[in-house]
Symmetry: C2
Subunit: 466 residues, 2 copies
Amino acid sequence: MPPSLRNDSIAAIATPQGIGALGIIRISGHNAIEKAGILFPKKDLNAVQSHTLHYGPLVYENELIDEVIVSVFKAPHSFTGENSVEITCHGSSYILQKIMEALVRIGVRPAQPGEYTMRAFMNGRMDLSQAEAVADLIAAESGAAHKTALQQMRGGFSKQIKELRQQLLDFASLIELELDFAEEDVEFADRKTFVDLLNIIETEVKKLADSFKLGNAIKSGVQVVIAGRPNAGKSTLLNALLNEERAIVSEIPGTTRDTIEDVIIIDGIKFRFIDTAGIRESTETIERIGISRTLEKIKEADIIIYLYDINTTIAEILEEDLATIPEGKKVILVGNKADQLPNTIDHLPKNNGQWSMVNGQWSISLSAKTGQNLESLKKMLVESLDLETELQSANNTIVTNVRHYNSLLNILKAIDSLKEGIRNNITTDLLASDIKTALYALSEITGEITNDEILGNIFGKFCIGK
Amino acid sequence: MPPSLRNDSIAAIATPQGIGALGIIRISGHNAIEKAGILFPKKDLNAVQSHTLHYGPLVYENELIDEVIVSVFKAPHSFTGENSVEITCHGSSYILQKIMEALVRIGVRPAQPGEYTMRAFMNGRMDLSQAEAVADLIAAESGAAHKTALQQMRGGFSKQIKELRQQLLDFASLIELELDFAEEDVEFADRKTFVDLLNIIETEVKKLADSFKLGNAIKSGVQVVIAGRPNAGKSTLLNALLNEERAIVSEIPGTTRDTIEDVIIIDGIKFRFIDTAGIRESTETIERIGISRTLEKIKEADIIIYLYDINTTIAEILEEDLATIPEGKKVILVGNKADQLPNTIDHLPKNNGQWSMVNGQWSISLSAKTGQNLESLKKMLVESLDLETELQSANNTIVTNVRHYNSLLNILKAIDSLKEGIRNNITTDLLASDIKTALYALSEITGEITNDEILGNIFGKFCIGK
């Protein structure tokens, strides 16, 4: 058993680094309360009730470290499902370090990254997809990312997967029964019913897999590329968007300076403006993007803002440029420099800042320079995602995790193979093997089936203290 | 009454900014439990016992924000002395922000800097010097700074001040009595006894005031200047010291990169190596420092390391250079490049790395290049502070706060004036006035007497959440 699977007591600083009013050290393990008690002479922590708080000095070898609050959680009623103690001390790095040192000296092991959440998983407090959602929840920077992580942590996604798995499992047992009576050539499991079931599961799984595109965008940010001819005002537009939203972004600490420059959160959705020199520099024209890495970026983009000078651009140019953008991409046509023509905005199709379709694309006019109609562009960015429809079609579950997405693809592949097999009247044992593959992929998501490598991969990405 | 003196409910994020496993929001005020209860529908928090923990969803207007642990502290058994609630949530800035928003929307005010500690002070949970120690404790980066802050927070210093104040107060009431019977010209307060008392108080206060030099060094770091002629190896020595201790320093997060470069913590004491170009650059010689800002630095320094090349420096040069260092400064004479002479170290006074006095200064030889005897220099730096003796002479109380130091100086001035007055047989009412001045200065330290401006000054320096 790897060290991470034991129930020895582990400790870690659970609060961010830096100076604050309070800091927390979390201890978990079968003898966590005993161990914490060694440093907390004021009370017998073993004798106190679960879910109680105790104030007093924290002392190691007669040396006072701090006055602290100790929270006691008795197994199984804790995050990890084990006996747990939280020490809330003054938020000084020095004190936190001293307490960690003292704990290590009395035989508490410093926790590995993600070890608390791993223990919660191992002790059945949550399944694997819920555990993964804990990390996503902590990392969430936007309302949408927060919401999907929270829903996943509370088990919405797991429930769907488990239901699908149960249906498949019920059928699998009939198939297994056939195998037991293989020589008698009976068919307990009706093939027609099975295909119907497979179709239902396939539809469900496909919905989930399809939601990953949106889920990934929500988690990592919707990629937006601003394209357009030189002097269309691309940089001005990006700066205008950034300046307007900078204040909101900077309310969220931990966002690095670099990221701030190109990330904008609008209505709880993170938009990531892809910064390619080719797009920002006015020497790059949309005609020349064919061979540049800008095309790569456009390919990866979720949304393309095509910007043109509303005063000088003729319809032919517009059509020509739009033809270079790959089919099926979400494009927002933005006519810039509306401030230079008197009453421009009023004379545009669906005036007063409302948008309409031009050449089959969403269209709007604005002035990046004065900020006129900028608000409408932001609304358009959000609405172009069509979040409501997407959520409905995915039964309100959005897959955000690439590991889950890969498992879902594996399930689809296995179902395809099963359907093909039934069409070709393959033997029951081959059928049983394909069912196992599908079941395995389903079980991987929630962690009914797993291995140390997968666990290591997942929890290794957590930070220490989680 | 300024807003900070009300008992309305306030809230603040109490944990450092950044991503961590857990974050805490602290709410305090007469209706803090009620307010927190609005967001925690699972249980009636008003009905739960003090010092209990409750797990459940945190919800604002039907929107789930997070699964949290709520800690309930009922007045007066909390840090502030008021009803208090701590919400421990996942350590995401986004979630913390959302919870703060929800609290503000239901009428909880964001706390001002230091407002929790200020309330603890206003509610008699701690006196002013203890409150100041809370900030020092959180900022402490070294063992010594941590220890002095902790002792002050626990009231060691306050107790001494209060005892002195009581003695003076007892005497003052006798003086006041005399004033009541002023026309009868009686003397209730024996002047001889009073002078004896003043002498005792003066001795005590002087000890405390004297301890400030050390206390300030402990808090801000002991200032060390490395001086010496060109090519003595000053930079090499500094780098050798820094490289050796860098690992230890960097264990303490929050120390900025810039600070790391010149701060070394040895045996729990912070040493601040003053970085003047004049000292580091080999073009600067000790003879020329007279007019440069290097002399300034030497004046401010607590310790001067005078470095010389042990292979080439003759005694006359040494004496000449040392003569330029102001009287009374702690100097450590360090003979460098001991590695270039075979067996040099063995042939030095008090060999094997022990030190002795040369020209009345502590002396040692080492090699900054090879690291030979570096450990001894570090020991010498610590021992030169003579911490034990200083602590004993200050009755184990070290004053670290410049506000307290100034009050102590004011007390000494008032005592001086009192003694002078008694010698000159001044009138009782003048005496009473001087006693009041001394009492005022004593009361200022612990905060028996204070005003909004002083409080604003003190607590305004706290960060929000404290």
